[in-house]
């Protein structure tokens, strides 16, 4: 009996069919999937003796205290510090997964620092009369911010730019003193301020959330006022009219609320004080309500800045971007290493000179201004480097805490403040220590150490011990002065009403997100608990009008450009609205023109 080639094929076919009825192929599929979780290139947590180290999370201005479970030099898990008197052990999902960021696939690997330095030097040489060298600092108030301001003082027309900030800086919110809070879309219960402090203070105040969409804060508020999109200022004016015994005019028509609802909200603010009014975008006509309800000096207080060495005060003043003349910035350096509010690129671009401006971004990923800059110089990422974190908006007292490094940074990253100081030929390598010494010398406030949960008066601590404690996880908290001056709200002009034109949908921004670990894709891409940067939410009727389907691709178009997005259809979304996350791409598109249309691809 001879075997033919056909027999061989039959044998193979039989073997293949037989294999399907065994566990082998199915088990190999599972095993291969499991193997891919830890295949070469995927970072692995170290095994070994565990020890606790302490730091502060610098992913957002809250600066929550962190206890890191470390094996050797590697942090393998992060958690809050329960005993902390202000952050109360809270740590958000972004903070819990912060130690993944050094391994983030979006990290910049190339370092064009020499080319960037040459371009900056060339830009400085070409800087004409009336032209500026500017640093845009997304998180002002740090020691690095002072280094920028000192460096810029060395240059002609050096300009230090900071994001617009009505609250924060030297004005803080004292939530613990508030009995009634009216929030115009501020995500008070969803990452605003210091989450641990907000949760601790929540029992003490009644929250009224005026917002177009039923956000997570609106769901958890005591009362949700579902207002028409873009009618926040109209509601603020109506409340002001009630407080001044003026008629409401057509406020109900503008806001979508009843007169009774508006009057009740106003009475609540007036009768159940101390009251506080917050706004997601710090609009002047809304924050001005705080003056009417007597918030200044009670729930909005003046905050002293943490002391700095006297010689640092020969620095340039902080300027807001809108105060800079258009077409005047020759060299712009943008520090994105400490995340902060993102200013739309269109607002920045018009400040640049027309012919060959130099724009350099310092960032760990190219997702932000790196998309517009000529050079993106890589920086370290939390928790790789030491930086200080200024107090959040809800901290009535000044704070000084360090985001101590838990991991060594890669060799080729740049410290932006030291880079700029080097260009200006000033010394900044010991700036943090110098500031810590200045705080110690002032002798006020207390030092809270995380390892033992103890508070000690600064005057009872030696300077070296103070510095050592800060490096090992500690927080200096200023003493609240017995008498403070009544703060003044520096409010700009009201924003112009957006032009409707061909854009029928009002843009409603969901909360901005901190830079996150890839593991948080569960939040974004699978469960949509938070909106990813490329998702928009539409009411079914709006989706039908736009001829787009749930899960389908579409183009979001505004007066500033177009962006490809994926559509989520949600019956809970209001009509006439497109909701999207406040990320760099969407803010570039919608930040200055809050009307849009959605077009089927």
């Amino acid at each position: 009996m001879t075997s033919t080639r056909r027999d061989l094929f039959k044998f193979a076919g039989g073997a293949a069919v037989g294999a399907l009825f065994t566990p082998a192929p199915w088990r190999l599929v599972t095993d291969t999937a499991l193997w891919s979780e830890t295949w070469p290139g995927v970072p692995r947590p170290a095994r070994g003796e565990i020890r606790a180290r302490y730091t502060n999370c610098s992913l957002c201005p809250a600066g929550c205290a962190v206890r890191a479970r470390c094996v050797g030099e590697q942090p393998v898990a992060l958690m809050g510090v329960l005993e902390h008197p202000f952050t109360h052990g809270a740590l958000c999902p972004f903070g819990l997964a912060g130690h993944h960021l050094p391994y983030h696939p979006a990290r910049i690997r190339q370092n064009p620092v020499k080319q960037a330095a040459a371009a900056i030097s060339d830009g400085l040489a070409r800087c004409g009369a009336g032209e500026r060298v500017a640093v845009l600092d997304l998180r002002p108030g740090r020691t690095a911010s002072w280094t920028y301001r000192r460096s810029l003082a060395e240059w002609k027309n050096g300009t230090y730019l900071k994001p617009p900030q009505a609250l924060g800086g030297n004005l803080a919110v004292n939530l613990a003193a508030a009995k009634t809070v009216l929030s115009f879309g501020a995500p008070l219960l969803d990452g605003w301020g210091t989450p641990g402090n907000v949760i601790a203070a929540r029992e003490g105040f009644r929250l009224i959330q005026a917002e177009t969409v039923e956000s997570r804060t609106a769901v958890m508020a005591d009362q949700w006022l579902p207002i028409r999109p873009g009618s926040e200022a109209a509601l603020a004016r109506a409340i002001a009219n009630v407080l001044a015994d003026q008629p409401l005019h057509d406020a109900a028509l503008e806001t979508g609320l009843t007169d009774a609802q508006i009057v009740a909200a106003a009475r609540e603010l007036a009768d159940n004080g101390p009251a506080l009014v917050l706004d997601a975008r710090d609009r002047p006509e809304i924050l001005a309500l705080n003056q009417l309800v007597g918030a200044l000096g009670h729930t909005i207080v003046t905050r002293r800045e943490a002391p700095v060495p006297a010689e640092w005060k020969m620095a340039v003043a902080a300027t807001e971007l809108q105060a800079v003349p258009d077409g005047s910035v020759r060299v712009l350096l943008i520090d994105e290493s400490a995340p902060g509010p993102y200013l739309p690129w269109s607002a920045i671009e018009k400040k640049l000179v027309a012919d060959n401006p130099v724009v350099v971004a310092f960032a760990w990923s190219g997702e932000g201004y790196g998309r517009h800059a000529q050079f993106v110089v890589p920086t370290a990422v939390y928790p790789e480097w030491v930086d200080d974190i200024p107090p959040a908006v809800d901290s009535p007292a000044a704070m000084f805490r360090l985001s101590a490094a838990l991991l060594p940074p890669p060799a080729d990253v740049v410290n932006p403040a030291e880079f700029v100081a080097g260009l200006a030929r000033i010394s900044a390598t010991n700036a943090l220590r110098e500031r810590a010494d200045a705080i110690h010398k002032a002798g006020r406030g207390t030092l809270f150490t995380y390892a033992d949960g103890k508070s000690t008066a600064v005057k009872d601590v030696k300077a070296d011990d103070f510095w050592k404690a800060l490096q090992e996880g500690g927080c200096w908290m200023d003493a609240v002065p017995e008498r403070t001056e009544i703060p003044k709200l520096a409010l700009g002009p009201p924003a112009a009403d957006p032009v409707v034109n061909n854009f029928p949908l009002a843009v409603v921004m969901a909360e901005a997100s901190a830079p996150g670990s890839p593991i948080l894709s569960k939040l974004y891409q699978e469960s949509n608990l938070r909106l990813a940067g490329d998702r928009v939410v539409l009411h079914p009727a709006v989706a039908s009008e736009c001829r787009v389907e749930d899960g389908g691709r579409a183009i979001l178009e505004t007066g500033c450009g177009r962006l490809e997005v994926r559509v989520l259809v949600d019956a809970g979304a209001p009509q006439g609205v497109v909701q999207l996350a406040a990320g760099p791409r969407t803010l570039d598109l919608c930040g200055s023109s809050p009307r849009a249309k959605v077009v089927r691809v």
Binding site: G14, V17, G18, T32
Partner: protein, 190 residues
């Protein structure tokens, strides 16, 4: 009829290989360094699980004890068994740490807190580790050749014989649901 024979032979061979050979071939097996008897230690020495598998002062779980702990009693042989004699000669006397293989070791991407389960939820060791604490011999450690996971994470065959739970994510989630406990991804995936 002859034409179907190669097909049937191929199918039969693969069925035998897939059911009889594959489940053995997928694991590589290695013996534990010492033939340790939990039973002797529990019965004769009257020891409890936590005497050797203790929590550190900071709450972390020490896992398998190091040689120092064993040498506290076994600086010299206490009994007459070959296993103990070999242990003293090969490990205690030359102060050489045995390289134990941990049957219950979770993958690298999972964080499991013993103290939360033992102290707070008051789970007994047997809930997850079954009758391991009364075993007279240590069985070989079996590791999946592809995924690298310990066989005991799945322990399908053993589960049929005992009430011991598997140590898979679905088993964790199932137990937490039964207890009415909320989960988030970051509880275990740090």
């Amino acid at each position: 009829m002859r034409g179907i024979f190669p097909f049937a032979a191929g199918a039969a061979i693969m069925l035998v290989a897939g059911w009889a050979g594959f489940p053995r071939a997928i694991y590589k097996s290695r013996p534990q360094p010492v033939d340790f008897s939990h039973k002797v230690h529990a019965d004769k020495a009257g020891q409890k699980c936590e005497d050797c598998h203790a929590f550190r002062p900071d709450g972390t779980f020490a896992g398998i004890p190091t040689l120092d702990k064993c040498a506290g009693c076994h600086a010299a042989a206490m009994g007459s068994t070959v296993a103990e004699k070999n242990f003293v000669e090969q490990y205690v006397t030359p102060a050489r740490e045995p390289h134990w293989a941990v049957y219950a070791r979770q993958p690298e991407n999972v964080f499991f807190s013993h103290i939360a389960h033992v102290k707070r939820a008051k789970l007994s060791c047997e809930s997850c580790h079954g009758d391991h604490g009364t075993s007279d011999h240590l069985r070989p450690y079996q590791q999946d050749r592809v995924s690298g996971y310990s066989r005991n994470i799945w322990q399908t065959a053993e589960r049929v014989k005992s009430t011991r739970a598997a140590m898979t994510m679905s088993a964790c989630v199932e137990c937490h649901r039964q207890q009415g406990l909320e989960n988030s991804c970051l509880d275990c995936h740090k």
